[in-house]
């Protein structure tokens, strides 16, 4: 790949200098010059009004595309359940498999996987590879990544998708490094490029301020983690048939350097924020720890979870596990109700891919309103109780 600047067309206007996310473009004399650190991302090419910049891109090799076939999804399994994101991966994986004209498979690892493989077949998997072994009972990076990498080497899928969950994001880089292939994090959109069957992986970067489409066109498999709650869940297909293949755990895959001593699933008020459909978030406008009960009541009525800003967490009103944002979790529920949240960028990056955002804030200038679908300028202590009351009325309580 290379970048070229046509000196005759370049007017030294500087649009490319402003556009470069890496700050490597410069105007020297009459023309733009590319400095060290260019990643050939194409931002300058897009910004140039004179078509003076051309980036010659690679397309994938056809050998790679031919030798590797099929779309695979990793079905995360924890605490006796298949993670919701696995069904989303099956939904998206099915679309990709159709575009490629190839099959959809799932890989599942665990210590007691009763009926899980059948569930995956019922949601569209043509094939399920099952590793069911006591050594796999708890998620453990090294053993899991070796097991999956071994299977990939043997079966050669074109695409391998994992959920961008704590487990998926910890596991995927190790698999990719073992296979010496590319990995794109936290994708929100996937597609297949018809010319070379490359997986187009689109994700937010720079805290969601820009979107980047990334390819891994000449290595296989093409790996991506996918943000939970963004892709559409596969629905149950009555009578769908698939092959369930029970695999032996290779002894060389077992790594005893990591031991899981205990797992604590926090229940009740905590929270699988990443999986929640509805999130009611409180910021410093909540004023006191006990006022989170009000948000909890609203969240419970909507079958949702409570989240918080760093402001509220730092005030000690709620546990860090609830924090959404740059130094907390990234969430994308169907509905995010922000109460007394100012909308600092560090908070916005964690929630702006939510489907519908509601902001309730006293200050009409609060930045949260700029990302909100519906805004209510007012006192949350007046508005939230009204919401609760009206919901109760319509539920007939």
């Amino acid at each position: 790949m290379s970048i070229g600047i046509d000196r005759d067309k370049c007017t030294a206007c500087g649009a490319c200098v402003d556009a470069c996310p890496f700050g490597v473009m410069e105007i020297v004399g009459e023309t733009a010059v590319v400095g060290d650190g260019c990643t050939l991302c194409g931002a300058c090419e897009e910004a140039c009004a004179f078509e003076a910049i051309t980036i010659v891109r690679k397309t994938g090799s056809s050998e790679a595309a031919a030798a590797y076939q099929g779309v695979w999804v990793f079905a995360e399994y924890r605490g006796g359940n298949i993670a919701g994101v696995a069904f989303e991966l099956l939904g998206e994986g099915r679309k990709l498999a159709e575009k490629l004209g190839q099959e959809l498979s799932a890989v599942i690892l665990g210590g007691c996987l009763d009926g899980a493989a059948e569930e995956l077949v019922a949601h569209g998997a043509d094939r399920v590879f099952v590793f069911d072994h006591p050594d796999l009972l708890h998620f453990q990076e090294a053993t899991y990544s070796r097991t999956i990498a071994g299977l990939v080497r043997e079966r050669k899928p074109a695409v391998l998708l994992l959920g961008a969950t704590a487990i998926g994001r910890s596991l995927a880089p190790g698999i990719a490094a073992l296979l010496d292939t590319g990995l794109t994090a936290d994708c929100t959109e996937l597609d297949i490029r018809p010319e070379d069957q490359a997986l187009l992986q689109t994700r937010p970067a720079f805290g969601g301020n820009i979107m980047a489409t990334i390819v891994c066109a000449d290595r296989r498999p093409q790996m991506a983690t996918v943000r939970p709650k963004v892709m559409k869940r596969a629905s149950r297909i009555e009578g769908h048939r698939g092959e369930i293949i029970s695999m032996d755990l290779p002894s060389e895959a077992v790594d005893r350097r990591i031991r899981v001593l205990g797992t604590v699933a926090q229940q009740g008020d905590l929270v699988n924020l990443a999986e929640a459909d509805v999130i009611v978030a409180g910021g410093r406008g909540i004023q006191e720890e006990k006022n989170f009960a009000l948000l909890k009541e609203l969240a419970d009525l909507l079958n949702g979870c409570v989240a918080a800003t760093r402001g509220a967490v730092d005030a000690g009103w709620i546990d860090y596990a609830h924090q959404v944002g740059q130094t907390g979790r990234t969430v994308s529920p169907k509905l995010y109700i922000a109460c007394g949240v100012s909308g600092a960028v560090q908070h916005l990056v964690g929630m702006q891919s939510s489907d519908v955002i509601v902001a309730i804030n006293k200050d009409p200038e609060a930045p949260i309103f700029s990302v909100a679908d519906y805004g209510i300028v007012g006192d949350l202590f007046e508005i939230v109780p009204k919401l609760i009351q009206q919901i109760k009325n319509s539920l007939g309580q």
């Binding site: 470069c20 996310p21 590319g182 820009i210």
Partner: protein, 264 residues
């Protein structure tokens, strides 16, 4: 304990955005900072060093200017710093970055623990740490919130999961990536700041790391950026007026229409 902490220089994310009118990236006034998570990684490392003795080395791969983040780390109390900088390293994806960092960590052997931040806020990938561990063939635990102790060559930690946390023991040498819960970074001392100004920071390139050109930078990368664009502007920004009763009623009506709440 021999510790290595990986720090990255990143643009301060809050100032970067695409101008919706011209569709170009606005960089005015964008400062470079230490990736915030890497300060937590450094703090975790300093606590271990203070408890068990030994040496803490900070490393960073980046352009020559990245030296400033290493000096900042020295001011917090890191013992040594190495900058990995070479024209050949430019444009690295997480795979190539991990290989480059791995070559450096190997050169710093023997080491007991490598600590990375959970993620860098420019790319938000959270991939370099686990990939680095794999390149070094050492075990890793990601998203560590608490370090419980070191005993018999094992580090015991709590890692944050989506639904709670796990307690995990990992044999050293190992790598962890840390989240904010690990503890607030200390304040650099005056003495530290003075020392950080004077201390030499060696620069290692391809030659020093004994890496082939096709393993690093853009050439060694498996992925590349095909396109960068502005996200769809989000938010319908409809302000609901009226008294609280009307506001609440109108909101619920819209949420039902959008099918994001189900009420009987």
């Amino acid at each position: 304990m021999n510790l290595v902490v990986c720090v990255k220089q990143v643009p301060d994310a809050k100032n970067i955005r695409i101008d919706p009118v011209t569709n170009t990236l606005q960089r005015q006034g964008v400062e470079s900072i230490v990736n915030p998570f890497d300060l937590y990684a450094l703090e975790a490392g300093l606590r271990l060093r203070d408890e068990f003795g030994g040496k803490l080395t900070v490393i960073s791969m980046g352009p020559p200017q990245a030296e400033s983040v290493l000096r900042e780390a020295l001011s917090y109390g890191a013992d040594e710093a190495v900058l990995l900088s070479d024209r050949a390293f430019a444009g690295a994806d997480t795979l190539a970055t991990a290989k480059t960092l791995a070559a450096c960590v190997r050169r710093l052997s023997p080491f007991d623990l490598v600590i990375c931040g959970k993620q860098a806020v420019d790319g938000d990938t959270a991939q370099v740490g686990p990939a680095l561990a794999q390149s070094l063939d050492i075990p890793h635990v990601a998203f560590v919130g608490t370090m419980e102790g070191v005993e018999a060559g094992c580090l015991t930690v709590q890692r944050m999961m989506d639904d709670g946390y796990d307690t995990v023991a990992v044999e050293l040498p190992a790598l962890i990536t840390v989240v904010k819960e690990i503890g607030e970074p200390r304040v650099p001392s005056f003495k530290g700041k003075m020392r950080a100004k004077k201390q030499p920071v060696p620069v290692w390139g391809l030659k020093e790391l004994d890496l082939a050109e096709d393993q690093v930078g853009l050439k060694g990368s498996a992925t590349w950026v095909e396109r960068i664009f502005a996200p769809e502007p989000r938010g319908r920004r409809e302000i609901l007026d009226g008294d609280p009763d009307t506001q609440a009623a109108n909101l619920l009506k819209r949420l039902k229409e959008d099918q994001v709440v189900k009420l009987a």
